[in-house]
Symmetry: none
Subunit: 398 residues, 2 copies
C-alpha cells in the first residue's frame, strides 16, 4: 500500500539507532533501566517538548531477534519474509566486500583426529594463529575450479569466506557436525542447482585438510551458514528515499548496503558520524545512524557502560537536531537487557521527534514508553508512521 | 517459528487459570471488579514485586469465546484454526473416556407428539429421570450394527453419547429441529464418508423411540454437535514441554487430554490441587491448574462469590510459588462479568510472575492490567511470551 501513496519532498528523516537499547529494571541499580538512569538532557528536552513515545516489537511477542531481523524490521521489511543469512552477516561484520552472486560462509578452525572432529573450536586458538592460518590458505588456495576464494580471519578460531564466480548457490547443508566427537561432514546440495557449489566447497575443505595436516591443533575447518546477498527490494525504491548509512561497525554498514543504502565513509566515533551527516545532509532524505556501544554494554551486563553510551549519544543529539530534520527517530533494533547479558524479546522503547505528533510530554525511557501515544507496534510498522510524520504519504482512498 | 527456536531446560512454567476471571466495574459494588475488591495479599505481593501485567484477547476484539476456544488459545492454538466440537466438550464434561475414532454427541430427552417435537426439553425433566432413562437405553441398546454405544446422563434433560467402532465420521447434520413444534428430524451425512454413521445414528434414534414409546413426557431424543477428537498437534510436541493438567472439573481435564497433556488424578479441592502439583513437580515442566468457581460465580452474577473464589485461590498461591517456578501465569480463559451473567468478549487480566520482566509494580486487577507492560495481546501469543520468560526460546536469525 505504502508504495502507491509515496509523495516526494525534501523533508529529512534521521534514524538514530542505539543497538540493543531496550532494558529491564535492574535490581542492582535501584530497579532503574539504563535509559532511566542516564542523564540525557538533550534527548529528554526533545522528548518532552515535541516527542511521541511508544514501543516496537521487532519480530513477534516473545521472540528474541538477531541483528538481521532487528534491522530489517526497522526499515519496514517483514523479518519473517526476508532473511539475511548467517554467512552474509559474518562477512559483512568483517568488512568484506560482498557482491551479487557471491557465496558467503562462516568458518571455524577445528581439531580433527582420525576423521573425527575432536574440538570444533580447535581449543579456541588465539586470533593471531587464525590470522596466520588464513594467510596460509589465501596464499595456497586463491581459487578452486575457476571460483575465487576470499578468506578473512575473525576473532579466536573464527574466520569468514567468500566464494566468487558463476553459478554459485547457497542451497547447501553445513559442512559441520555441530557437535564434538562426531565424524567430519561435507556439504551436500539441498537442490540440484547447488551441486556445483557443494563440489567447490568440499574440494576446498579437502585442500585445506591437506595443507594443515601437520598443524597440531587447528588441522581442519568447519563451514556453515552458506548464504548469498538476499534478493529484496531496495530501500530507496520501496520508499522513494535516497538513504545514507553512517555506522562505526562494519556489519551495520553491510546490512545497509544489502538494502541498497549508500555508505560513504567509515566513521571512527560519534563526532565523525555527525560530521558525515552534516556533509551529506543536502544529498539524502533518509539517514541511518547506528550506535553499537549500547548493545555491547548490554551483552556484557555492564549497566554503567550502557548508561555512559546513552549519555555520549545525548551529547551529539543537539548537532543532529540543529539540522532540523522533519522526523528524528531514536530507538533500537532490539532490547539487550543488562540482567540477561544478551538480546531479548522485550519491546524496544521508541521516541519520534516530530512537529506533527501528539506531544506526549514525557522523558524517554521504557516505563514512559509503555504509556506513550504510539502504543506498542511492530517494528515493521514504524516506517509508515515515520513517512507519515515526514509528510511523505498521500491519503489512502478518496 | 517457535518450534525451530525451542531450547530444552528444566525451568518450570505454571498456568493458574481462573475460569471467567475478567470482569467489569459493578455498579452494585462501588464500581469495583471482583479482582479489585478481593483481598489477595499473596497475589498482589508477587504482582508488585516481580510481576508484569497486561491483557489477553481470547479470539478477537468483540468475540465472546466458549470454553474450547478460550483454553485452546491460552495454550497457543489458534482458536479459529482448531476447534473442539460441542459433542466432544459434552462427553469430556461428563468425564467420559473419549478415544481416537469415537463419535461424540450431545443429546436431549424431548417430547414427541405425532412425529412433531412438542417440547425439545421434555419439560426439563429431573436429573434422576434422565438417569433412569439412560440406564434403560444402556441396557437395551448396548450396540448397533457392531458400533458400541456409551450413554451418560447429564443434568436435567441432557445426556451425552459416544459411538465407538470403525469408520465413524462426524460430518453429520444435527438430528434436532432446534425449535419446538417442528417435525422430528434425522441426521444426514454432509459427505459420503458419513453415510454409515448417519445410518447408525438414525437407527439408534428409531430404537430409542420404540423403547420409550410408553413414556408420557420424555418419549424421544434429539442428538446434536456430532464431533470427534480433533486432529491437532500435541502440546508437548509443539513446545517440547511435558505437561500435567490439574483440574477439579472433568471438562478441563478432558480438554487437556485432547491436547495430549497428562492427567494423573481428579482433585477434589484446591489443597489437593497443590498436593498433586508438589507430587509431580520434578517430572513435568508445564502445569495447567484450572479453577472453575470464578466462572460459576460470574455466570450466577454473584459478585461476593467471585470475590470469595479469588480470595480462596490467593491462599494457595504461596504454596505454588514456594516451588520456585521460573514463570507463574495467573489469568483466565475468558471474562465472565457478574453484571452480564455469562461469558463475554472483554480482554482478560493477565499477570506473569517472572524475574525477567519489566516489573510493573502494580496490584493485579483489570484497571492496572490496561496499563501493564505486556499491553493487550491475543491469548494465542501468550505461550511464546511465557516460553521467552522461561528462557526456553533461542534467538531468531543471526
Amino acid at each position: 500500500m505504502i508504495k502507491d501513496l509515496l509523495l516526494t519532498n525534501s523533508n529529512k528523516i534521521v534514524f538514530l539507532i542505539l543497538d540493543g537499547l531496550g532494558d529491564i529494571p535492574n535490581p542492582r541499580f535501584s530497579y532503574l533501566t539504563p535509559l532511566e538512569a542516564a542523564k540525557k538532557p538533550n534527548i529528554d528536552e526533545l522528548a518532552v517538548e515535541t516527542g511521541i513515545l511508544g514501543r516496537i516489537t521487532p519480530v513477534d511477542t516473545g521472540i528474541t531477534p538477531g541483528s538481521g531481523p532487528g534491522h530489517l524490521s526497522l526499515f519496514g521489511y517483514d523479518p519473517v519474509t526476508y532473511e539475511i543469512g548467517r554467512g552474509v552477516l559474518e562477512v559483512l561484520g568483517l568488512n568484506m566486500d560482498l557482491q551479487d552472486g557471491d557465496l558467503a560462509a562462516r568458518a571455524n578452525f577445528c581439531t580433527v583426529k582420525n576423521g573425527v572432529v575432536a574440538d570444533r573450536r580447535a581449543g579456541r586458538i588465539e586470533t593471531k594463529e587464525t590470522e596466520r592460518l588464513c594467510a596460509t590458505i589465501a596464499k595456497a588456495i586463491p581459487e578452486i575450479e575457476g571460483i575465487k576464494v576470499i578468506v578473512r580471519p575473525g576473532k579466536s578460531h573464527r574466520f569468514a569466506l567468500i566464494f566468487r564466480g558463476k553459478n554459485l548457490s547457497d542451497k547447501l547443508t553445513d559442512a559441520d557436525p555441530h557437535k564434538d566427537n562426531k565424524p567430519l561432514v561435507y556439504s551436500s546440495p539441498k537442490t540440484g542447482e547447488a551441486e556445483f557449489s557443494s563440489t567447490i566447497i568440499n574440494n576446498f575443505i579437502k585442500k585445506i585438510m591437506e595443507l594443515l595436516k601437520n598443524e597440531k591443533i587447528a588441522n581442519g575447518v568447519l563451514l556453515r551458514g552458506f548464504s548469498m546477498k538476499p534478493d529484496m527490494p531496495a530501500f530507496s525504491v520501496n520508499y522513494n528515499l535516497k538513504a545514507l548509512a553512517i555506522a562505526t561497525y562494519p556489519m551495520y554498514r553491510g546490512i545497509a548496503k544489502v538494502l541498497g543504502m549508500d555508505v560513504k565513509e567509515e566513521p571512527k566515533d560519534y563526532d565523525e558520524m555527525v560530521r558525515i551527516l552534516k556533509d551529506n545532509y543536502n544529498s539524502y532524505q533518509f539517514f541511518f545512524m547506528h550506535i553499537k556501544e549500547t548493545d555491547t554494554a548490554g551483552e556484557d551486563g555492564n549497566f554503567p557502560a550502557k548508561v555512559d553510551a546513552i549519555e555520549k549519544v545525548d551529547r551529539i543529539v543537539p548537532a543532529i537536531y540543529d539540522l532540523k530534520p522533519q522526523v528524528l527517530v531514536i530507538t533500537g533494533d532490539h532490547s539487550t537487557p543488562c540482567p540477561l547479558k544478551g538480546h531479548s524479546w522485550h519491546p524496544v522503547p521508541l521516541l519520534i521527534v516530530t512537529q506533527t505528533g501528539e506531544k506526549d510530554g514525557m522523558a524517554f525511557h521504557e516505563k514512559n514508553c509503555i504509556k506513550g501515544s504510539i502504543g506498542t507496534i511492530y517494528s515493521k510498522q514504524l516506517m509508515s508512521l515515520v513517512l507519515a510524520h515526514g509528510l511523505k504519504l498521500d491519503k489512502y482512498g478518496a
